[in-house]
Structures are given as structure tokens and as C-alpha cells.
């Protein structure tokens, strides 16, 4: 072939390759724009190529895929210390490693881990016997308590509990162990002599923290979520008071306008109990975040002598201290320490001042204390910065040291309670705390990316889930109310939001998010990559309570499945395809990812179509519907489906409806339906 012909062919090939590449490149740009449109601002807002360089294609196509190939190379060896206990001789620290499924025993003389003991899934809390021989660990995702022989360094017996065991406490005789079961909202009373659960007591909604009074006579369990209230009434959250003598519930008391009570502790004299809590403003239009219009954070105080209850703000007029988790009182009853897992602070409170304020409230000298942002100045003496996401704390028996689980930096901070200085750190792992997905997890749990540190993602999505509340977020107050949705296992369920407007989590967490939710500077592209990677690939559902992995459907669930998939009514009429449950809710995510009008809009909604929600683990996501009107699944059809628009169901008998609900409750993670 002549050289000129060769050149012509090469030229044509070059042009073709250029055109293909150019078109492909442009397609990539278009795809990118569609997935992230408007999410990058600033100098590069109008520069498509710069935006791609910032929000890397690789990030989205590696870390945001739940089953992504590259995820296997992501750093996984995190400990994530969650809660702690200390031996009575102050020689050993016991630490639950939430992400390593282990209990760690730390020698406090050398600050070294001397034992790592495998336990169940997602260990939450630990209690240690007085003689230091036994440790009890709640396995939140295994529904059990591991009994650990400390000297042997082995987990022996496993005792079944209710669903999602979290906080636990030994009674003073160490004969019974009280375990707060978060997911089944009850308390297991475990007979330690028999090594079995002896009874189960009904608790509040999502009980988590539990503790026993200094005299050993009563056990208090605090809850994360509100008990059932009338629609659009403020939440109120239960503290369950148990008589430790009879092991029966003696009283149910409620903190009004509060939820997310994580832990509880007592004054040494036993006259006061303290709990951390969040005061959401979900009924108030979210017109601003300033001055606590979205939520505030407080210390709940209960007088066990008078029954009076108080909520004392932990915030300040221009600074908020998000997500209080643990509260610990010094043995002399003079100081309280509160870990703010969203703010990365420890607040130090003067208990005598707290008592003075309470007295002034009783005397009517302080009004509206719970909403007074100036009040904290009266009793908070210091704010101590910590590592990322401080969770559980424990006080040394002499009260001189406070050990703090800095969950997302894999450290235990040791605070000198006399000098109020952090005096040392105990490292729990050598894993890279700056790796992309870890960084995303830290961002998720941190309030620093909200105006005046108001709240974190966790604040409305505790435990990476949802808080069970409906917020008033629309431009016009009272319209388009929005029921918070879970963030668990979102991959494959796009688009997002009830109106389906966000095609990706990049959009969900991008510029609009900072404009209307966090109201401060948007995430940098690097941080957005990390946050989206964490949300889409790392958040899992706990095992389904109604159908364990690999379990067969029960008879009722099987009948319910048939109803879910039925094509004819009870009297034999054909059900139009669009009116069949499975049409809009097909597995594996049980959503067609489209918007439909199922007759659930109200005159307060600006549109009638809503995105079909996915149904994986729907049992844990009450209330239901876009505006949270339905307290139970049953109400979806018995109250809000008069015209059979939300699936033909009005011909079903009560038993059939029960079966259908049994089936819905059993729907687990999408991976089982692929």
C-alpha cells in the first residue's frame, strides 16, 4: 500500500477514534451532570471537566457500589470502640469494638490491649462483675449476650435476648442482668444463675440505655424513640422504671418534646437521675436553623424523690452541641460529664449548679428553662474537645479518670477529672482513620458541617436509620410534610426523596442539602465523595427480626406473600396490574423506583404522586407514608386506602390483612431476593 493511502487510512481511523472518544467523553460528562447536577459550586461550578476531576468517576463507580469489586480493598480493620466498663480495681478496661465484633481488655497500667475476645455481631455494651471474673457483652445484631470468662479470655455461654440488645446492667447481687432490647422495645431480665432469660418486660420505643440506682432498688431504661402519639403531636419518650426487687415495671414516665435518650446515670445519693436527650422541632416549620429552630440538645433530670422532670439545655445561643450520648457522674456527685458524639466534645457540668437551677425552676424563678439557650452558662463549666464521635464513657472507681470511647478515631481518651485535661490516649487499632469511607463515616456523624454545629446526619438518622419523625421542610410551612426515611442499604433504590427529585446521593447531599438543610458551606468534592461512599456502600440493615437469614417463611408469611403477589380479588375479579402490590413493589428492593398517585396525598401536599418506597426491612421504619400519617402498616389499608388506590386490599379479611403484614414484616435485605 502506498504511503499516502496508509496516511489516509490512519487519518480516517484517527478521526473515527476522536469522534468516538469525544462522543463517549461527552456522554460521560452528560451522565455526570445528570447524577450530580448542581452539586459542585464555587470556582468550578461552570467547568464540567473541573467538576469531574473533583467528584471523581472512580469514587462513584467503586465505593458507592454496595457489592463493588473495589470495596474488598477498602480499609476494614476498624475497632470502633462503642461502650466501656472498668474493673473495680481500676486495672482493666473493657471495650466493645462495634465494627470488629470483639471485646477488648485493656491493661490500664500499660495502656495495652491484653486480650481481644470475639463475641457476637455488633457488640454494644459491656458490664463486668465486681470480682472482675466475668464480662457480659450485648450483641446487638445477634440478639444475645456473650458471657466472657475474663481470665481465660474466651466468650463462653451465649444467652438469647430480645431483638437488638444494647445497654445492660447487673443488679447489686449480680443475680440478674437487665438488658435493653432496642429493636423489640423490651427489657430482658436474665437469671444469671440459670443462664437464661427469665422474663421480658415491655419498655418504651427503642430502649437503649439502662442503669441501676445506687441503692440497687430500681432500674431505669431510657428510650431513643417516642411512644405512639397523636399525629402532629410532639414526641414524648419513655423512661421505664423497674422495681429491682420484684423485677416488674413500676412506672412509665415520659419526657415531653424529647427523644434519642441514649444513656442514664444517677447521683451517688440516688435522688436524681440524668439522661441525655434531643429536643426535636419537627412540628415547627424548618424556616431556619438559627436559635434552635431545628433541634436542641439537653440533659434530662428526674427527681426520684418528687417525680419532677427537667430538661436543661446543653447548647448556647450561637453554638450547639449535637447528639449527646453518654452521661457520667463523679462518685462525689459534684460533676457530670456528657459526651457529644456529633460535636466531638465533652461537656462538664457542675451538679451543685444544676441543683440550684432546678430549685429556681421549682420556685418559678426560671420559666421556659428547656428552651432557654442562655441557661447552660449556669451549670456548664467546660467544653473539652475529643476525637471523632465520642460515645460511651466510664468513670474510674475513684472518680479521678474518665475513659471515653472515641469511636471513629479508634481511641480511648483518658480525661483527668481533676484538671479536666485529656491526659493520654489508648490506641485501639492501627487502621487508617483518614481512609475515604472512614472519613465519610466521620462526616456523617459530625455536626461541624451544619450552621453553628446544629446537627449531624446522625441527628435525624440515628444509627444510620431514621428517627421516626416527620419534618416540615417545605418552603410554605405546613405543606409537603416529610417523613424521614432510612439510610440503610440505599444502593439500587435511586431516585431519592419522597418526590423522587434526587437521582443520586451526590445530589441528595450536595448543594441543595447545604442550602436548605445544613445552611452552611457545602461539602468539598473530596468530602462529598467520602460521605456518599459511606452512605451508599457501608450502611446495612440489622438482621430482620421476623425472618432470619436463610429461614423459611412461616405459614402466615407464606399466605401473605401470595396475597402480595395475587392477581385476583377474593371474589375472583382480576386486579389490574397497576393495582397489584408487586407491580410497584417488585423485589429485590420492592420498589419500581417510580412515582405513583396512590391516593395518599392530602390537601396540604403540592403534588399527588410519590416515589414508591423500598420495602426492605420495612418493619423497622414506622411511621409510614410520605408524611408519617400511618402509625402501623395495618393503617395503610384500614385507614388510608378507601378507594383501593394503594393496591386493591379492601376485599381482604382481617386475617388476610394480618398475613399480608406478616409477609411485609419479613422482607429482609435486598441481597436475599436477587
Amino acid at each position: 500500500m502506498k504511503m499516502s493511502n496508509r496516511l489516509i487510512i490512519l487519518l480516517i481511523l484517527g478521526v473515527l477514534l476522536f469522534l468516538m472518544g469525544y462522543r463517549g467523553y461527552n456522554w460521560s460528562l452528560d451522565h455526570y451532570e445528570y447524577m450530580t447536577i448542581g452539586q459542585v459550586t464555587g470556582d468550578i461550578a461552570n467547568d464540567r471537566e473541573a467538576k469531574i476531576a473533583a467528584l471523581k468517576c472512580m469514587s462513584c463507580h467503586t465505593y458507592t457500589q454496595r457489592d463493588g469489586f473495589f470495596l474488598q480493598f477498602a480499609e476494614k480493620d476498624y475497632t470502633s470502640p462503642y461502650n466501656l466498663a472498668v474493673s473495680s480495681d481500676n486495672r482493666r478496661l473493657f471495650v466493645t469494638g462495634q465494627e470488629s465484633n470483639a471485646l477488648y481488655i485493656v491493661d490500664l497500667a500499660s495502656d495495652r490491649i491484653i486480650s481481644k475476645i470475639p463475641v457476637g455481631d455488633y457488640p454494644h455494651s459491656v458490664a463486668v462483675s465486681r470480682d472482675g471474673q466475668k464480662a457480659y457483652v450485648t450483641n446487638q445484631w445477634s440478639n444475645s449476650v456473650s458471657v466472657v470468662d475474663v481470665d481465660n479470655g474466651t466468650a463462653g455461654k451465649t444467652i438469647k435476648t430480645g431483638g437488638g440488645p444494647a445497654g445492660l446492667v447487673l443488679d447489686h447481687d449480680e443475680e440478674f442482668l437487665y438488658v435493653a432490647n432496642t429493636y423489640t422495645s423490651d427489657i430482658s431480665v436474665i437469671d444469671l444463675n440459670q443462664g437464661v432469660e427469665s422474663k421480658r418486660l415491655r419498655a418504651g420505643n427503642y430502649p437503649t440505655g439502662i442503669n441501676i440506682s445506687p441503692d440497687g432498688r430500681q432500674v431505669l431504661a431510657v428510650s431513643q424513640r417516642s411512644v405512639l402519639v397523636e399525629y402532629r403531636d410532639p414526641p414524648k419518650t419513655e423512661i421505664t422504671v423497674i422495681d429491682a426487687g420484684t423485677r416488674r415495671v413500676r412506672q412509665r414516665i415520659h419526657f415531653e418534646e424529647a427523644h434519642i435518650m441514649e444513656k442514664v446515670d444517677f447521683s451517688p445519693s440516688g435522688d436524681l437521675a440524668f439522661t441525655t436527650l434531643v429536643r426535636p422541632k419537627n412540628l415547627v416549620p424548618a424556616v431556619q436553623v438559627e436559635s434552635g429552630w431545628m433541634m436542641t440538645f439537653a440533659l434530662g433530670v428526674i427527681s426520684l424523690e418528687t417525680g419532677s422532670m427537667y430538661q436543661l439545655p446543653l447548647d448556647e445561643p450561637n453554638m450547639f452541641y449535637a447528639d449527646p450520648f453518654d452521661v457520667r457522674i463523679t462518685p462525689d456527685g459534684k460533676q457530670a460529664f456528657i459526651s457529644h458524639s456529633g460535636g466531638d466534645y465533652i461537656s462538664v457540668l457542675d451538679i451543685d449548679k444544676v441543683r440550684e437551677v432546678i430549685q429556681q425552676i421549682d420556685e418559678g424563678l426560671i420559666l421556659n428553662a428547656e428552651n432557654d439557650l442562655m441557661l447552660s452558662e449556669a451549670y456548664i463549666t467546660k467544653r473539652i474537645p475529643t476525637g471523632s464521635n465520642p460515645k460511651g464513657m466510664v468513670m474510674s472507681p475513684d472518680g479521678n479518670r474518665l475513659y471515653i470511647a472515641e469511636r471513629l478515631t479508634d481511641r480511648i481518651g483518658v480525661l483527668n477529672t481533676q484538671t479536666l485535661e485529656l491526659e493520654r490516649m489508648i490506641t485501639m487499632s492501627s487502621a487508617d482513620q483518614q481512609a475515604l469511607l472512614r472519613r465519610g463515616q466521620q462526616l456523617f456523624n459530625n455536626s461541624g458541617r451544619t450552621f453553628q454545629n446544629q446537627y449531624s446526619c446522625y441527628s435525624c438518622h440515628p444509627n444510620d436509620h431514621e428517627d421516626g419523625l416527620t419534618y416540615d421542610m417545605d418552603f410554605y410551612p405546613g405543606e409537603d410534610l416529610s417523613n424521614v426515611q432510612t439510610l440503610r442499604e440505599l444502593a439500587g433504590t435511586s431516585p431519592f426523596k419522597w418526590n423522587g427529585n434526587n437521582v443520586s446521593i451526590y445530589m441528595q447531599c450536595g448543594m441543595r442539602f447545604s442550602t436548605f438543610v445544613t445552611r452552611t458551606e457545602a461539602f468539598s468534592p473530596e468530602d462529598l465523595n467520602a460521605l456518599v461512599g459511606y452512605i451508599t456502600s457501608q450502611i446495612q440493615h440489622p438482621p430482620n427480626l421476623y425472618r432470619g437469614p436463610g429461614e423459611e417463611l412461616t405459614e402466615a408469611q407464606r399466605r401473605g406473600k401470595e396475597l402480595f403477589e395475587r392477581t385476583r380479588t377474593n371474589d375472583g375479579r382480576m386486579i389490574a396490574e397497576i393495582d397489584q402490590c408487586i407491580t410497584c413493589h417488585p423485589p429485590p428492593h420492592f420498589t419500581d423506583r417510580l412515582k405513583h398517585d396512590v391516593g395518599t396525598a392530602t390537601d396540604r401536599d403540592n403534588h399527588t404522586e410519590f416515589l414508591t418506597p423500598h420495602l426492605n426491612n420495612i418493619y423497622e421504619s414506622a411511621p409510614y407514608l410520605h408524611d408519617g400519617r400511618a402509625n402501623t402498616l395495618e393503617e395503610l389499608w384500614t385507614i388510608y386506602n378507601d378507594d383501593d388506590l394503594h393496591g386493591v386490599a379492601n376485599d381482604m379479611t382481617k386475617d388476610q390483612l394480618n398475613d399480608l403484614i406478616e409477609y411485609l414484616l419479613s422482607i429482609g435485605s435486598a441481597e436475599y431476593y436477587k
Binding site: 416549620p285 410551612p477 436548605f516
Partner: protein, 479 residues
């Protein structure tokens, strides 16, 4: 291995490069930039807000505190007067107010600190002053307005660094001036109501898009703020205040960003002397402009945290004031997103009462809310049972709100002048403008009703219109 010529070439190239780099750094770190005026110029010297526009023959100068014997460098030689220097976040630019000719208006200028060339940013028939850099590299500044009936005041504006995209961001009958940036991304300005007239100046905070404006700190009774209020890395805010009972007495006051009203502290009291202005340094010390006696000139002093001062630069021939120092900024203010939209030419406001007000008042039977504009009551409507109200108001309409009882007696308010931007949403809890209470978690009764659309019967008489402030399309350089 290498040719000798190559090595020499590389060495020469490196030397030239380093030399050029050094030459470019006209003002290295830790230089102090400040305003000076001759010793006999007292007019406007201790003035606040628009009073300082009377300053004549002022110059912006720089000074190396490490070489006190070295001479000052005049940065604004070609200006008839220049003042109020502020550094950009990267310390590469200086923005200031200046006038080329004695009869000119004060305008905003920007100087490149590498070559000391100045570019005019604003060009209009009003005095523009007190500029400050925004975190997005834009600027905010004040410009005056006059009205026969309402008096004289100044409005806060924002613009890009080249003067484009000029927007007024305050719409009240105040004098807004002496702006700085808070770490949270808001502008902090000194604001004094001019209609109805008052002597009290307070600190106003607002987002750079003009939304969420509100009282940030009301100055203690008897004091008047006379300097910019500046935030430190420890989130403390310092300013100079004048004791109005004793016009000569000044003090450096401090409060914390987090909790302004529980943290006020007098850092330094001038005694018989006078403090003019201050600038917090990263080491925790303050640069202050101070004179021991009114017969002296102001010099620059360093005030340490123990309240001890030592002179940095004094010259009996000049007053020195408004110091800024070239050092790393203690914080980069957040770039706040804006929710403003052209699709809405109004804003909405929801007001909720505090529980104690509800308990104290008992019933709002017969009570009315009155929304007052510049020329009187624009609208009134009955108070709902829980005291809440929900209004929609045309954008940028100055208004004050009050509650009257059945006898038309004012029970609450009137508030300060308020306005809403296009697409803005605001919430207020109770009538205390410090907004120190969060709302109770209840559905406000008002939002179960349609909003009250406020009839803006009298057009707002705020005299500033954006087109009056049209800028020169291309600024001209200081020759």
C-alpha cells in the same frame, strides 16, 4: 557530567526567579497596614459610621514592626484621602475607601499588594466606605443615603471583587458600617437606627445575601460602639466602645461568639486616654490605636492578654489608627449558600410565642398584630390563640411589627426594622430580638391558616436603588 554553561544558566535562572519572587512581595508577613492623618486633623477622627467620612488627607501606610527605625511606606500616595484598609483572606489584596480628589465621594478601591496598584471598585454619587472581603472573594461595604424626612443613613452592599453584581443587602432605616466577617460566614456590622432616631448602635449579623439579618449583640447601656468588632480564632469578639456618660472614656470590650450575653468582659479601659480601633493578632495580643491624652496623637500599641500595652509605632505628627496586620487569617469564614430565588419576589415569616409569654398573657382575645412600614401601618390582623402569626411580605420591604391590645395600646414591640429577601424564610420566637429561646415543639396555629399577605401600601422609601449604584464597567487603575 553537565556542561558548565548549563549549570550557570540554571543558577542564573534560579537567582532571577527568587529575586523576582522577593520583589513581588512588596509587603511581607507581619507588616502592619494602617490609616494615618496629620496630628492637627481631629475632624472625623473619633467619629463612627458616617462621621468618619469627614476625615481629610488621610493616608494608608505600611510599617514593619521588626524594623521600627525604618520609614513608613505610603500606599495611597495618589489619593486625596484613604482609610479603612482590610486585607483579603490570602493577604494578597487590600481593599479600602478612598477618594482621588478632595471633592470626590468616598469610593471603594482594591490594591494588589504585589505591585501596589489600586483599582476602583465602585463609582457612584454616594460615599461608599468600610469595605471587607467576603469568603467568596467578593466584598461588602457601606454606601450612604439621604432623605429629607428620614435622615441620613448607610446601606450595606455586596459585590464581586471587580465591582460587578452589586446588591444592597440591608433594607432598614439604619446606618450600617464597620463590617467584618464572622467565622460562620455572616457579616457583622455596626448598625444604628436613624429613623425614628436613636443613639444606640448595636451589632447586626446577616448572611451575605441579606437574609437572616438580626441583632447579634446589643451594646450595654451607656456605651456606644466606635470600632469594627473583630472575631478571633478562639471565637472571642473584640471591639472598642465609648462610654456615653463620659465622652472621652473608651474601653476594649470582649464577648464570646457562642454566648454573647453571658460573656461580656472589659479587657482594657483607656482611663483618661482614648482607644480608636483594634485588631486581634494570632498570638492572642491586640493591636490597638490609642492615645494617652486627648492632646496626644494616636499611636499603635500592642495590648497583651494581661492588659499591659507597649508602643509599636508612635509619631507625634500623625494619628495612626485602623491597624491590620499581614499574618495568616485566624479562620476562613464559611461560604454560606444562598436560598434566594428570582422565582419569588417575597419572603415569609413565622412567629411563635414563648411558653412563658403564653402563660403570662393568658389570652390574646382582641389583640392585633400591626405591620408598619415607613409611612405608617401597612397591615393589621388578629392574633391567633397561641400568639403565632405567618406573613408573606414583598421582598426588601422595611417593616416593624408590634402587638396591640383591644384598646390599641402597644403591648409588644415595635420591633427594629426588619425585611425579607426574595425567597427568604424567617422564624422568630417571642419578641426579644436577641432570640435567646428556641421554639417549643408545637405546630404553630398560624400555619394551619393561609399566610397573611402584607399589603405594602406605601412603597418603601429606602432611597437606595441598585441602578443608582451602577459601577464603572471597568475600573481604572491608579496611575
Amino acid at each position: 557530567m553537565y556542561k558548565k554553561g548549563t549549570v550557570i544558566f540554571i543558577l542564573i535562572f534560579a537567582a532571577v526567579y527568587i529575586g523576582m519572587s522577593l520583589l513581588n512581595r512588596s509587603l511581607p508577613d507581619e507588616h502592619i497596614i494602617m490609616t494615618r492623618v496629620s496630628a492637627d486633623s481631629e475632624s472625623g477622627l473619633m467619629g463612627t459610621g458616617m462621621e468618619k467620612l469627614e476625615l481629610q488627607n488621610a493616608q494608608i501606610v505600611s510599617f514593619d514592626p521588626k524594623k521600627p527605625e525604618s520609614s513608613l511606606k505610603i500606599l495611597t500616595k495618589n489619593f486625596a484621602s484613604a482609610m479603612s484598609p482590610e486585607l483579603s483572606l490570602d493577604n494578597r489584596q487590600l481593599v479600602f475607601s478612598g477618594k482621588k480628589d478632595i471633592d470626590d465621594n468616598w469610593q471603594i478601591w482594591m490594591m494588589n499588594l504585589n505591585n501596589l496598584r489600586a483599582t476602583q471598585i465602585t463609582d457612584n454619587g454616594r460615599d461608599c466606605f468600610d469595605p471587607v472581603f467576603l469568603p467568596d472573594d467578593g466584598i461588602a461595604f457601606s454606601c450612604t443615603w439621604q432623605d429629607e424626612r428620614l435622615g441620613n443613613g448607610s446601606t450595606l452592599y455586596t459585590a464581586n471583587a471587580d465591582g460587578s453584581d452589586l446588591n444592597a443587602v440591608t433594607f432598614h432605616l439604619h446606618t450600617d458600617h464597620s463590617s467584618t466577617m464572622l467565622h460562620d460566614g455572616r457579616i457583622l456590622s455596626v448598625s444604628q437606627k436613624v429613623y425614628p432616631e436613636t443613639d444606640i448602635s448595636n451589632l447586626l449579623a446577616l448572611r451575605p445575601d441579606g437574609t437572616k439579618s438580626g441583632l447579634f449583640y446589643d451594646i450595654p447601656d451607656g456605651y456606644q460602639i466606635i470600632s469594627k468588632a473583630r472575631e478571633t480564632i478562639e471565637n472571642k469578639i473584640f471591639f472598642v466602645a465609648k462610654n456615653q456618660q463620659n465622652g472621652l472614656s473608651t474601653a476594649v470590650l470582649q464577648f464570646s461568639y457562642n454566648n454573647p450575653y453571658n460573656s461580656k468582659r472589659t479587657v482594657y479601659s483607656s482611663g483618661g486616654g482614648q482607644i480608636h480601633s483594634l485588631y486581634p493578632m494570632n498570638d492572642g495580643n491586640l493591636l490597638i490605636s490609642y492615645r494617652e491624652n486627648v492632646s496626644d496623637t494616636h499611636g499603635i500599641y500592642m495590648l497583651n492578654q494581661q492588659g499591659e500595652s507597649e508602643p509599636v509605632h508612635i509619631d507625634g505628627s500623625y494619628h495612626f489608627f485602623e491597624p491590620v496586620i499581614i499574618e495568616e487569617k485566624p479562620f476562613i469564614p464559611r461560604k454560606l449558600p444562598s436560598a434566594l430565588t428570582d422565582a419569588r419576589n417575597f419572603g415569609i415569616m413565622v412567629f411563635v410565642e414563648t411558653p412563658q409569654a403564653l402563660a403570662e398573657t393568658g389570652s390574646f382575645e382582641g389583640h392585633k398584630i400591626q405591620v408598619m412600614g415607613v409611612n405608617g401601618i401597612m397591615d393589621e390582623f388578629p392574633v391567633l390563640q397561641d400568639g403565632s402569626f405567618y406573613i408573606r411580605v414583598d421582598e426588601k420591604t422595611p417593616m416593624r411589627i408590634q402587638r396591640v391590645n383591644q384598646d390599641d395600646e402597644v403591648v409588644k414591640g415595635p420591633t427594629s426594622w426588619l425585611w425579607l429577601m426574595n425567597g427568604e424564610r424567617r422564624g422568630f420566637t417571642g419578641w426579644d430580638e436577641r432570640q435567646l429561646n428556641s421554639p417549643a415543639n408545637r405546630v404553630p396555629e398560624a400555619i394551619n391558616h393561609p399566610y397573611v399577605e402584607i399589603s405594602v401600601l406605601d412603597s418603601p422609601v429606602l432611597v437606595i436603588q441598585n441602578d443608582e449604584h451602577a459601577l464603572s464597567e471597568a475600573g481604572y487603575e491608579n496611575e
